[in-house]
């Protein structure tokens, strides 16, 4: 929030003690968010790293199985047998 805007809101609040201002998020001044760009990859413990490796293997295996299943259902292998 800029200094100019803060002053305006302060002055408004002083003049209208019983009033509140509601601003739509898209109309408000963009606030500074948590900086994710400079922090790099997440620091993980060895057990978490190993678990993620296992997950990667599981996902690759299951994706290949699914691919086989879909090809089987589509009758691709039956055509090859001919």
């Amino acid at each position: 929030m800029t200094l100019n805007m803060m002053r305006e809101r302060k002055r408004f609040d002083d003049e209208h003690q019983d009033s509140f201002i509601v601003v739509h998020p898209l109309d408000d001044v963009q606030e500074e968010k948590v900086d994710t760009a400079g922090v790099g990859p997440l620091r993980l413990t060895t057990s978490v790293k190993l678990s993620l490796m296992a997950l990667r293997g599981y996902l690759i295996l299951m994706t290949l199985l699914l691919l086989y299943h879909v090809m089987d259902l589509s009758g691709l292998f039956r055509q090859w047998k001919w």
């Binding site: 929030m1 800029t2 100019n4 805007m5 305006e8 809101r9 408004f12 209208h16 019983d18 009033s19 509140f20 201002i21 509601v22 601003v23 739509h24 998020p25 898209l26 109309d27 408000d28 001044v29 963009q30 606030e31 968010k33 948590v34 994710t36 760009a37 922090v39 790099g40 990859p41 997440l42 620091r43 993980l44 978490v48 993620l52 997950l55 990667r56 996902l59 299951m62 994706t63 199985l65 699914l66 299943h69 879909v70 259902l73 589509s74």
Partner: protein, 441 residues
């Protein structure tokens, strides 16, 4: 609600002013703030009641009557807790989910998540257009005209360069789903039976069979989908929700979850009517036609229109989750607030998703059943791992601080959810490998 406009000049905003409403009571302030902040939660939840969901819930009702209503009540906190984490992450970082996975877990996981998301999303879109085509044909509208028209409307919906306009239209479409309550009331089951089977988990007559297990997995997979994580975080970031909006974002998500579960329950009750009147059907459109004999033509038209509405909601949300995710990863401008000329890549991905899915549906003898099976299995595979990343991201206190990171009880709840989802995912995988694993019906 007495309110007037407050305008303060500011150099930090694009238009040089900050516009606000002046209100005179705390209650009005709270209500107005909620109305301004709400949207992403309701949309993500209700868009999840898409064409596939209509089909699954109606089928559950037709096969097991009201016996599976308890699954919906169980899924209410599950879906809320998962999406609430996304709200926190979106508000804290102001970035989408795809960006976070790339930045925090590296390229391999980033690529895997993105490719898997795009694939599942695209296949889901095909099922949405298939439902539109089916419902339109029952209304005597030829798909050759109806499907391209739906695609054009869906593209027009987002290219206005105004997030607010898109959100208002989509929230209106979400609220149209209230009509499911009327339909359920008209064809519904006895109230005491509905309440009992919602609160008390019961196994239907016939015991635990393969079809029951997979219907429960399908209900879980339908209620919690991977695209929802990507969609809501990007939506929260695009709407620029502020730190102070967190509690309203949570309330929006909770209200959305409750509304969605109620609507899903009504869909099950509609299916239950088919069971009660011994009507066999292959899809909800056929059910709509068949129940005309006792429910009347208004219910028939209502179900068909609601099917189209569900598919339209699903399509806009799923396509946007793809476009946002791709735009984030490629570093393209990706906001509904931007006109087409300033975010060409973002809008192109959205339009491409919509047009390609619509085109596939129009191909004669396209393998739609194969696509539906693939969607369910791929989504089931992807979901637990997607939630693991979310869980790890939300435990990064160094980045998020105490306010936005998970509390210990959050972690217990989330790990329990992940374990259950993994178990269901394994069951699904086992069925793919050994189709005769469970006893038949």
């Amino acid at each position: 609600m007495a309110s007037r406009l407050f305008i303060a000049s500011s150099t930090a905003t694009t238009n040089g002013t900050v516009r606000g409403r002046v209100v005179h009571s705390k209650w009005t302030k709270a209500l107005l703030t909620f109305l301004m902040v709400s949207g992403p939660g309701l949309i993500v939840m209700e868009a999840d009641n898409d064409a596939g969901a209509v089909s699954t819930y109606v089928q559950a009702g037709a096969q097991y009557g009201t016996h599976l209503l308890w699954t919906l009540l169980l899924l209410l906190p599950v879906t809320y807790f998962i999406q609430e984490m996304v709200v926190r992450l979106g508000i804290a970082t102001g970035k989408g989910h795809a960006t976070m996975i790339y930045q925090r877990f590296g390229r391999w996981w980033g690529h895997f998540s993105l490719i898997d998301l795009q694939l599942v999303n695209f296949l889901t879109l095909v099922t949405e257009f298939a439902a539109i085509s089916l419902a339109l044909s029952k209304m005597n509208v030829t798909p050759i005209i109806g499907v391209p028209l739906a695609a054009i409307i869906l593209i027009t919906l987002v290219v206005t360069g105004s997030y607010r306009r898109w959100e208002r239209i989509v929230v209106f479409l979400c609220l149209l789903d209230i009509a499911w309550l009327t339909i359920a009331f008209k064809v519904g089951a006895p109230l005491h039976e509905v309440v009992h089977n919602t609160i008390v988990p019961t196994v239907p007559a016939g015991g635990i069979t393969a079809s029951l297990v997979f219907l429960i997995i399908a209900i879980v997979g339908t209620t919690i989908a991977p695209w929802q994580l990507f969609f809501q975080q990007s939506c929260v970031a695009d709407k620029r929700l502020r730190f102070s909006d967190l509690k309203w974002g949570r309330l929006d998500t909770f209200v959305g979850a409750c509304f969605t579960i109620v609507v899903a329950g009504c869909m099950m009750l509609t299916g239950n009517a088919a069971l009660t009147h011994r009507i066999g059907f292959n899809d909800p459109a056929q059910l709509a036609v068949d129940i005309t004999s006792f429910a009347g033509p208004a219910v028939r038209t209502g179900i068909l229109l609601l099917m189209i509405n569900a598919a339209v909601l699903g399509t806009t949300a799923v396509s946007l989750s793809s476009a946002w995710a791709y735009g984030e990863v490629r570093g393209w401008p990706h906001s509904l607030e931007l006109p087409v000329r300033k975010a060409k890549g973002f809008y192109f991905v959205y339009a491409l998703c919509v047009c390609a899915a619509a085109a596939i549906v129009l191909i004669p003898r396209a393998p739609l059943q194969l696509i539906i099976v693939s969607v369910q299995v791929l989504a089931g595979l992807m979901l637990p791992s997607a939630i693991i990343f979310l869980q790890l991201l939300l435990n990064d206190k160094e980045l998020l601080g105490e306010r936005f990171s998970n509390r210990p009880w959050n972690n217990w709840v989330n790990w329990a959810i992940i374990l259950v989802l993994f178990a269901l995912s394994l069951v699904l995988a086992a069925q793919v490998i050994c189709p005769r694993l469970f006893p038949g019906t």
